[in-house]
Symmetry: C2
Subunit: 426 residues, 2 copies
């Protein structure tokens, strides 16, 4: 039987994990694949990394790997542009299958690369790009499509979830907990891609494409990170029976698909609220088939290598299939819901000077935009000094709340940017 | 393009759901499948049911369906023996693919039918047989195999979970709640297959086969139902911070694979404990890749039809693959752990006469089998009348506890069969 020849580009943690798993369990994986699997080439710009790998061929240039005798290329270089998409394009054009963990590249160029894979009759799989080891890409692509999907929601970034969980457990500030997370290796030296929400937005754009049969559209995702969340917000959330989680949410609405990455209030005791630390989860609302909940490790050497290897075995078994579950020509351009059209209840926190009339002023501006208040807490009483006013609104459009907050923020009695957090109803 | 011609046998709720889904979304499903999908034949012994279906061919005999022009047979007749396996065998021999929701048949005859499918180069898929709409069969077969699996646990029977949830919510007895569940259609008129644990054992045998690469072995599953669980047990569980769930558990141990269906104490606040009502869930411990949790509807027209249709689309796309993820010849015979070898802590409840020395007597018998007690509660004090003694043991072998309980049950001071419930550590 002819072996499936594999080339790996990007020899970091995950690449090492894939090589180790093949060394340990390659034979069993070959039995599952129905054909032996063999790593024939590796590629990295860093010579020391190449040297650390055993492989018959070692390349420093992705073009050379794409031109090698490999049948399947594993792209673990990362990055939206540059070497990663170059390798994928060259490999597909050379008639090779591709497995990638690259969420940024797939979110930005996925539709184009899917068309290219189709044109050359090759597979392009990306299970490892979303929620690590959780088989959510395959489940959306192959298992949950009969009744269509109305919404996908998830905790898609382990770093943010770890930070929020620690802030809640310790009462410490975002900045303090971030420092610890960096020391522990749970956050990067430059944490912006994680804590700014960008990483979650890449994954959400891919989930959206799979769930709704559309081309991934990263620009249509409204993104907010977690830097502005304070221990005070987390404490108020608890009083109201909620926890704060950074959610990626994609919903079908009458006006189009609404995609948001945003800290959200999630009701305590629901599955989403109980996902702690570096875990990831995804909830799929599949209409008549009900809701499905998936939880597992969203990152790390083995969880990610597990997803990469599942894709390799799938391809070797001959399960090529469409990249996003539908032929390229059937993927629709995403029709995005207007920004701020999502309706929900909101948590609002204002830092104000405790002067007469300040509550009336805030309430007046909210009323002007038809934002009505369900409950209110005012904390701290030191005349002339700062106090917090926290409100939960009735269901209303985010755009209306934002307009009201913009006016309120301009008041001289309001001493910090108001904080707005949507309440997830499920 | 040639259509994939489908024949459906067993025209009950799920068959109706499949037909309705094709009527509504057949075109989209065909696009996903890469080929049109067409129901060309139905089969049921009941003429009224056949009449209610639109199909070019209608049969009352499964042999006729197996000999028809269908390319793929959907078996929804059910039952371990009889028409269902006859149809599946005849269909595979006639070169047709098969999709089935029949857990009893697959648990009993799965290894043989898998070999037959392989011999004829046809697919045999059974996603709908386990946990309804949750894509757990596909995930175990295709996604979570890289690092092997150490344990699979799940709430696999919605009827039992509904009854236990209601007993906890209302404090009412098993018998009362069962009556309501029957009235509501959540339990069958003959509830034994559900509440006796048999249905869960079928599903567990299939999960075991998929997780550990073995032939399903129904006889190796130790089965206990929920009839003996009392509101008192549920109340004590709550005091200890636990909930009682009927779990199917398959674990790799040094002495072989341990498969049990048994009411278990699950720590409150863990994902398993929070699965309420008719939902199902499965936890997969995938060694270095971590634990994965799946939750969703375990039964019902649409959840089950969703799983059936996913299998049909998979086959139409050309994703045949091995029935249990490995070629038949590679499926090992299951080496079962000796009965009662599983070690855990246990909850024990004794109904005793409140006479001097009864506690010493119980403690003495337990000590004889090296069962040591971590905590104890004695409730009710009415000299000469019945009181409950509840104990939590340290970790010990189930067989040792059972031996001690057999001796204790024989005491004239012990007025009912002692109740034993293992504590799940995770």
């Amino acid at each position: 039987m002819n072996a499936m020849k594999i080339g790996i580009a990007g020899l970091g943690t995950v690449g090492g994990g894939v090589a180790k798993a093949f060394a340990k369990s390659g034979e069993m994986l070959g039995v599952r694949a129905g054909t032996p699997l063999e790593i024939v080439a590796v590629c990295d710009r860093d010579e020391a990394k190449r040297e650390a790998f055993e492989a018959p061929q070692k390349f420093d240039d992705v073009r050379a790997l794409a031109a090698s005798n490999a049948d399947l290329i594993v792209e673990l270089i990362g990055g939206e542009n540059g070497a990663a998409p170059l390798l994928v394009e060259e490999a597909l054009k050379a008639g090779k299958h591709v497995v990638t963990a690259n969420k940024a590249m797939m979110a930005r160029h996925g539709a184009r690369l899917a068309a290219l894979a189709e044109q050359h009759g090759r597979a392009l799989k990306f299970e490892a790009a979303v929620a690590g080891g959780i088989p959510i890409v395959k489940s959306l692509r192959e298992s949950l499509m009969t009744y269509g999907i109305s919404a996908v929601r998830g905790i898609l970034n382990g770093t943010c979830n770890y930070i929020l969980t620690q802030m809640e457990a310790t009462g410490r500030s975002f900045a303090d907990v971030l420092k610890d997370a960096q020391a522990l290796g749970y956050a990067e030296a430059d944490p912006e891609l994680d804590v700014g929400g960008g990483d979650s937005s890449h994954k959400l754009a891919l989930l959206t494409a799979l769930a709704f049969g559309v081309k991934p559209d990263l620009d249509a995702v409204a993104v907010q990170g977690i830097r502005h969340i304070t221990p005070e917000d987390i404490g108020f959330a608890r009083e109201f029976g909620y926890r704060i989680k950074l959610l990626g949410i994609a919903k079908k609405t009458a006006q189009g698909i609404d995609q948001r990455v945003q800290p959200s209030m999630v009701r305590a005791g629901t599955p989403l609220a109980d996902v702690d630390g570096v875990l990831n989860c995804v909830v799929v609302d599949a209409n008549e088939a009900g809701s499905f909940f998936f939880e597992g490790r969203g990152a790390g050497e083995c969880a990610t290598a597990n997803a990469v290897i599942a894709d390799i075995v799938d391809i070797a078994r001959g399960n090529a299939g469409s990249v996003f579950g539908l032929p390229s020509a059937s993927l629709l351009a995403l029709s995005a819901a207007p920004s701020g059209s999502a309706a929900s209840a909101f948590y609002l926190r204002f830092q104000v000077l405790d002067v007469p009339g300040v509550l009336a002023e805030i309430a007046g501006h909210l009323a002007q935009w038809r934002v009505s208040i369900e409950s209110m807490i005012q904390r701290g009483r030191a005349p002339g000094e700062a106090v917090s006013i926290v409100m939960i609104t009735h269901e209303t459009k985010q755009a209306d709340v934002e307009r009201a907050l913009a006016t309120i923020a301009a008041s001289r009695n309001v001493i910090a940017q108001p904080c707005l957090i949507p309440m997830e109803s499920k």
